[in-house]
């Protein structure tokens, strides 16, 4: 679906734009972390170790209060701890390695983001193209339904649905561990199914709206009229003419939606609704209780989210600039 011209534009835009390069770099970082987390992680991210709890990141110091026997009495002693290579990003309240948790957290964010966005896109585009192409009552019905969906803030709806349906998760065996390449790492990866479906459910409307708008205007294009005058079936017209020509804005929206969904997932995890404890949002919620003593537990996962989302947004801008130079863009759709 990506023609030579679009490829050329993408390349040209990439060469000219520093921001596009930064975006691709950040995204690569997240994708590589997510994929090779078991190989890259220094520790098992779920392994607790009270001895090593609340260690600061490399290069930082932290005062820690411990109970020690001094002169036969239990006393609270303040002691300075330094970050070490052992735990480059420090450890959390129960001594789990932050660096490993960040790497594994990328998996959750990325998988939920990509699969959620894909499910939303497929549903929304199918509905939207049909409604826009046929118009009339089908279209009216969809648009009123979309209005109702839009009336619920996606976060509120997601919280309600996940909270009420309960967090279903599926353990997926980790191929690296199965292959014996990463001993000591978690054997399965916990994929939050409910969260993924719910984020898709609350976001498909955006795709439907964009696809509908595209279909409505493409329906008026002379090449679609020409195809009809030649006797092409509706199915053929939608698949051969309407879908390919609405692909660009849908792709741009899908990209932005990955970012939106990562933010949504982290918010759900933060509120404790996600069902997995290997998530950036979950760690922020944990770290929130230790702000006064261990700032890094809440800060570092947040930075990871910001970096990932910036990366995706930059890629979205790059795609939009490259794919849509002349066309009046509906700016993002959200």
């Amino acid at each position: 679906m990506i023609s030579d011209r679009l490829k050329r534009n993408l390349k040209k835009e990439f060469r000219n734009s520093l921001l596009a390069k930064v975006g691709v770099f950040l995204m690569l970082l997240v994708v590589l972390s997510a994929t090779f987390a078991p190989l890259l992680a220094p520790h098992n991210p779920t392994q607790t170790n009270p001895e090593q709890a609340q260690l600061p990141p490399l290069g930082f110091e932290s005062e820690r209060e411990t109970s020690e026997f001094v002169d036969g009495e239990v006393q609270t002693v303040s002691r300075s701890v330094e970050g070490s290579m052992e735990h480059p990003m420090g450890t959390d309240a129960v001594g789990r390695d932050m660096a490993s948790r960040i790497l594994y957290g990328a998996r959750t964010s990325l998988l939920v983001g990509l699969i959620g966005s894909a499910v939303a896109a497929i549903t929304g585009v199918t509905v939207g193209l049909t409604a826009g192409y046929y118009g009339g009552r089908i279209d009216d019905g969809l648009m009123r339904f979309a209005d109702v969906m839009l009336a619920f803030p996606s976060l509120v709806l997601a919280v309600a649905l996940v909270g009420l349906l309960g967090p279903l998760t599926v353990p997926i065996p980790d191929p690296f561990v199965t292959a014996g390449l990463a001993d000591g790492m978690p054997e399965t990866f916990v994929f939050p199914v409910t969260v993924t479906l719910v984020v898709a459910l609350v976001n498909w409307v955006w795709f439907a709206r964009i696809a509908r708008g595209e279909a409505l205007s493409l329906r008026q294009e002379e090449y679609v009229k020409a195809a009809r005058s030649m006797g092409a079936s509706d199915g053929r017209i939608i698949l051969r003419h309407v879908l390919p020509n609405s692909f660009t804005p849908i792709l741009v929206l899908a990209t932005i939606q990955v970012a939106a969904i990562i933010l949504l997932e982290s918010a759900l995890s933060f509120l404790g609704f996600s069902g997995t404890n290997l998530s950036w949002g979950f760690d922020i919620a944990q770290g929130r209780n230790y702000l006064a003593t261990s700032w890094w537990i809440a800060s570092i996962p947040g930075l990871a989210i910001v970096a990932a989302v910036i990366g995706i947004n930059l890629i979205g801008d790059w795609l939009r600039d490259a794919l849509d130079p002349g066309i009046e863009g509906e700016s993002g759709g959200m």
Partner: protein, 483 residues
């Protein structure tokens, strides 16, 4: 409606091939359009029904008749919004008609389905106006030309490929350009690709919807020549939609002139251009600036005003609001120019809403006291030569009307003027009579039923002084019953 031309197979228009003999045409029309209507409705949603808003109909095409004979090029001309493109798209079944019928080679197009529709889609093609939007930007030239063949399952993959290459070459592109995308071609070349696509299924009939209006003149000439050559070579019948009269004159055999959703005049191209029968056609021709050094000194009387909105079309003849030749009633004896001024004033009052406040201000009396000044302003501003032309009864009626206006009684003024000056043009809608060069104008021959309606109106006018007929509704019935 029959035409008087012989069939021909050479579309190149040189003077010796021009057909001027008067023998009636014996062959059957390839395409025959009768009473074609396409209305759109506004304010027709559920909420409007709840609010009891009446749907507003927009009569984009309002009872169009014409025939296209095998081998000829019928031009359809008119200004934007006259319904010419809608007519073309409706007759090709790209839009659902509101009424009327279209036959193609004797078969009713609107009743076709399945194989018969598919056959029609093969034999009749459309070529569109916009070189940018008529080709799918994601398909190569080759794919575009192959598409109709694929849809109708013509030939093998290899045969289709060859045929597409052959077609592209015929329309003047080279074989190595088949894998290029539309944006790699210039506007003229894109139109050639669109034409090759229309030719792919070896159709008999092609609707050319403004095929050259988006092109520069030098390129336009290339494409026009191509269209002529291909018509001669493949024995094609064209319906040529255009707004550019010189192009129409160049390429068409017969011409239909459209105004506000109706055909107002049809005839052989030379007759239309040299002896136009309808005042609109005449005005259209006069308006075109000629590329000639004498042009600067040619006196051009431009039509007044704008085309009325199709939401609120005028009663009777749709052209009467702009027509310089509106027919005065028998008892009125004014020069045409002054009568036209009266009709303009009446249009302002009845249809557009005259801004009295501005007249008062213009008269230098915003407090609305000096009626004499008001009347003076009306006479000066609305009329060319009031004092010379209006006398006796006319002067009295006008004076009475101005008095009413000065008093703010717009309805009364309208009534006073209508009573004396109502024209047959606003009462009865003229139709196209059955002839080789018909015009829908009361100044020309009219079909018997229109003549009857006129007679009835005149009788009624004489008796009731024209009051009731002027509002158009009953008159329009009289007109449309003639279908």
């Amino acid at each position: 409606m029959t035409d008087h031309d012989e069939p021909h197979d050479d579309a190149r228009r040189t003077d010796d091939t021009r057909r001027t003999d008067d023998t009636r045409r014996t062959d059957e029309p390839l395409v025959s359009v009768r009473g074609l209507e396409k209305y759109y409705y506004e304010q027709d949603t559920l909420i409007d029904r709840l609010l009891r808003n009446d749907p507003v109909s927009i009569k984009a095409v309002d009872g169009v008749d014409f025939d296209v004979y095998p081998g000829e090029t019928l031009g359809v001309v008119g200004e934007s919004g006259c319904g010419k493109s809608t007519t073309a798209e409706t007759l090709m079944r790209l839009r659902e008609p509101t009424g009327g019928s279209v036959t193609f080679d004797g078969e009713e197009v609107f009743e076709m389905d399945g194989d018969r529709l598919s056959e029609f889609r093969k034999r009749a093609q459309v070529m569109f106006q916009d070189p940018f939007s008529s080709l799918d930007p994601r398909m190569t030239a080759g794919q575009i030309v192959r598409e109709p063949l694929e849809i109708h399952g013509v030939g093998t993959r290899e045969e289709r490929r060859e045929r597409a290459a052959d077609l592209l070459e015929r329309v003047g592109l080279s074989a190595d350009q088949t894998d290029r995308y539309p944006h790699e071609f210039s506007g003229g070349q894109r139109q050639r690709i669109g034409f090759a696509r229309a030719l792919a299924l070896e159709p008999e009939f092609i609707v050319l919807d403004e095929p050259v209006s988006a092109l520069d003149v030098s390129v336009q000439a290339q494409v026009l020549n191509l269209l002529s050559d291909m018509q001669a070579e493949f024995d094609l019948t064209y319906l040529f939609i255009a707004h550019d009269l010189s192009v129409v004159r160049h390429i068409c055999d017969r011409v239909a002139v459209m105004y506000l959703g109706e055909v107002v005049e049809v005839g052989p191209v030379d007759e239309i251009f040299e002896n136009p029968d309808h005042p609109y056609t005449e005005a259209l021709l006069e308006s075109v600036p000629r590329a000639d050094t004498d042009e600067r000194d040619r006196e051009v009387t431009a039509l007044r005003g704008d085309v009325p909105s199709p939401r609120n079309p005028p009663s009777g003849c749709s052209f009467r609001t702009r027509c310089p030749k509106v027919i005065p009633p028998d008892e009125v004896d004014l020069p045409q120019k002054s009568y036209t001024d009266v009709t303009t004033l009446r249009n302002r009052i009845e249809r557009e809403g005259l801004d009295l406040e501005f007249v008062w201000e213009f008269a230098g009396d915003p407090d609305r006291e000096d009626t004499a000044a008001f009347k003076e302003t009306m006479r000066e501003e609305m009329f060319d030569s009031f004092d010379a032309d209006f006398a006796g009864e006319d002067a009295a009626v006008m004076d009475e009307a101005f008095d009413a206006l000065a008093a703010g009684e717009v309805e009364t003024a309208a009534e006073i003027l209508r009573e004396r000056y109502a024209s047959v043009c606003e009462a009865v809608n003229p139709e196209l009579p059955d002839s080789t060069h018909p015009a829908a104008c009361h100044l020309r021959d009219q079909p018997a039923d229109v003549r009857e309606a006129v007679a009835a109106w005149e009788a009624d006018d004489g008796a009731a002084a024209g009051g009731a007929v002027g509002d158009g509704a009953p008159a329009e019935d009289a007109g449309s019953s003639a279908d």
